[in-house]
Subunit: 414 residues, 2 copies
């Protein structure tokens, strides 16, 4: 495979004041088209580090994608640095200038004069057209490396990468391809999943298999290399099939598919509907379910009964059960689920009540104790979950929400 470097420009990035989302996206896309990212360097808006970084990349990389530093202000130095490393002057590009003027005209404004610097190009370089912003990109060869400089705005960068960079690099990649896939799992920990995958995870294998723990879910990554896309795909599919065979119902989805997407697809396929009754999760389960477009087909709604009176008034929880067992109890979790199912007229209902912390815990009911309930036409069940009392509030809430969704998923799978 070809060797690519990614260079991100911006003092807000080196100082940790903004998070660079471009690099992760670029690294994945580069791998898919046969360029393995071997270095990612973030440099501030200063000329010297930028020149220094470009010199190294020119000597060591086959392809370089730079993002950022193409704006119209004094701290936008990518054009100057490229010209310096190439040992040439900057000169205005008439076509780019016309495109920048047209960009402003479409928005009903005259081009501010300072934007004219964005049409400067190192002599011998080509402009990469930007159809959705004012900064054109730059394409030039520096020693070994083919360098593409793109704007830092993610939307513009991605459009330009897909339209002009990817086709050019795909042609250069000598047919080598790296394809990746992630199987999303829930129900066991990372080491148990590692155990099940066994020899698939041996180092140096192709495809390469690795695991990553998220909050309550485990990602199984499969990277397959091949001389052509078809070969890599065949390897990927073979390993995916074997991993799925070993992991069974632990796998709920692939790549960006969420647990809520998976539950939604099952509900939709069965023609059934769902409601939720949420206390400690505060609407998170409903939010996760409605992240999925089209969820109105199976999601009836949620009652977020944070206060006890709301549990009684809106979900019909028995005040005696609240007095006797407390709001965080299996009895109340069950009554909440039954109430939501009845009031919202759904086939299934999930509930969650617990102590998300950091305050509110006692010796008998510590922070991290959560009860989830699942009601359907046949009855209701509650389950106790215990997370460490030092787990962050967000982690407790998300793990509880995911565990509740998984309880329903396993029920729907039969």
């Amino acid at each position: 495979m070809q060797n690519a470097w990614i260079i991100s420009i911006g003092t807000e990035l080196t100082l940790g004041q903004s998070v660079d989302t471009n690099a992760v996206w670029l690294a994945r896309r580069l791998a898919e088209i046969g360029h393995r990212c071997d270095r990612h360097i973030t440099a501030p808006d200063d000329l010297e580090p930028l020149v220094d970084t470009l010199r190294q990349a020119a000597a060591q990389a086959d392809a370089v994608v730079v993002s950022g530093g193409l704006g119209p202000t004094d701290d936008d130095l990518t054009r100057v640095a490229l010209a310096r490393v190439a040992g040439v002057e900057l000169a205005p590009n008439a076509r780019s200038l016309a495109q920048i003027r047209a960009f402003f005209e479409r928005r009903g404004r005259a081009m501010p004069e300072r934007n004219a610097v964005q049409a400067l190009l190192p002599r011998g370089a080509q402009a990469i057209e930007n159809t959705c912003g004012s900064a054109p990109g730059v394409l030039l060869r520096l020693e070994r490396a083919l360098v593409f400089a793109l704007p830092g705005v993610p939307f513009e960068m991605k459009r330009m990468f897909e339209r002009d960079v990817a086709p050019r690099l795909s042609a250069d990649s000598h047919g080598d391809v790296l394809l990746s896939r992630r199987l999303n799992c829930i129900g066991k920990g990372e080491s148990d999943i590692g155990e099940l995958l066994g020899d698939l995870m041996r180092r140096g294998a192709n495809p390469e298999v690795g695991t990553t723990a998220e909050l309550g879910t485990i990602g199984v990554r499969i990277n397959a290399a091949g001389e052509t896309r078809a070969i890599a795909e065949a390897r990927l599919e073979k390993t995916e099939a074997e991993a799925r065979r070993r992991l069974g119902a632990l796998v709920f989805g692939r790549d960006e598919e969420t647990l809520a997407d998976a539950v939604g697809a099952l509900l939709h396929a069965c023609g059934t509907t769902l409601a939720t009754a949420e206390s400690c999760t505060g609407g998170l389960i409903g939010k996760l379910l409605t992240d999925t477009p089209g969820s109105s087909a199976y999601f009836k709604g949620a009652v977020v009964a944070y206060a006890n009176e709301a549990k009684v008034e809106l979900l019909g929880v028995d005040p005696a059960a609240l007095r006797q067992h407390g709001a965080v109890s299996p009895e109340v979790a069950e009554q909440m689920a039954c109430g939501a199912r009845r009031r919202l007229g759904a086939d299934f209902a999930l509930s969650a009540t617990g102590i998300a912390g950091p305050g509110g815990g006692t010796a008998a009911k510590p922070v991290g104790l959560v009860y989830i309930g699942l009601a359907d036409g046949a009855g209701v069940q509650a389950r106790e979950l215990r997370y460490g009392a030092d787990a962050p509030r967000e982690a407790i809430r998300l793990r509880a929400a995911n565990t509740a969704l998984n309880l329903l998923r396993l029920r729907l799978l039969g």
Copy 2:
């Protein structure tokens, strides 16, 4: 200020399969203790790139923080690379070995033999104790740079940084300090806020002021440098006061304070309570409110009425209004807010109903049309919001939720 480099090690990082959260955290903490991060380099689990990167850092940086590559497996190469650059051998450190054994014993296990490699240190280096994991860190000088190698696990890295790295680097920083603060704003766009800040944003000023657009909110960053912490703090506070004077009620919070935190603090201070009635936001407003610990003091609950029957049954929306105006209408938004306020017994209620897309839009009611409602003892009002039909579902939902929360914030501010 001293010049620091951050080096992150891991093929999963260079390939974009995991997101590096350590670097952002390290860059911020380094700035606070007088070390300005000038380069962040991510290298794969291979010896050559790692040695190459460490050599450059040794020549150019005052301080280097490496994270990752200290595990017990063959692809953990940080120790080997450090020894190579220092030109020394690796030798076992008896104290580290004893600590690793003790770590496993505390978990009721014998140390696997392969973990013994984690006690190897380049000759002349010091071990940095890891109290919550098996990988000790490494401290050594390479030419100009003081190098700290820490594990990649965020929790362990942060503990070790605070306990051993920060005190050592603070002593080295010759008193120079960079302090940062963010003012979180809502209600106007980035260019309007830039206009209001005017000369505060001039380039090269100290403090330096910049803006970043998030989804519906704008962050105003202030970076103040000073010879001592007290000097930097005084500069920061003066500029913060001036920025707040110019921005007025646009500012809702500072640093990590969210809009839901700010609304919660106001509700709490007034001794009043809130409920929500959510359709297109699907529980997101409730989720945002209950992200704040202690929100049970003022948040009564939410009714997520995704289906029309739920709007009628749980919120008392008039079926005739649904037929006549449709679910996405100011009339229904108002009735939803009134219903949630009454049913949940709250002082205030917010509602949201709209078309989050990508499907479900019509010419009259396109994707991105949302109505929000606010009810209190005096009555109810609805407001129409229009987002571009090509805005992503998540953006429409989050902007609508934030606009609803801001409507209440401005009401509470009077």
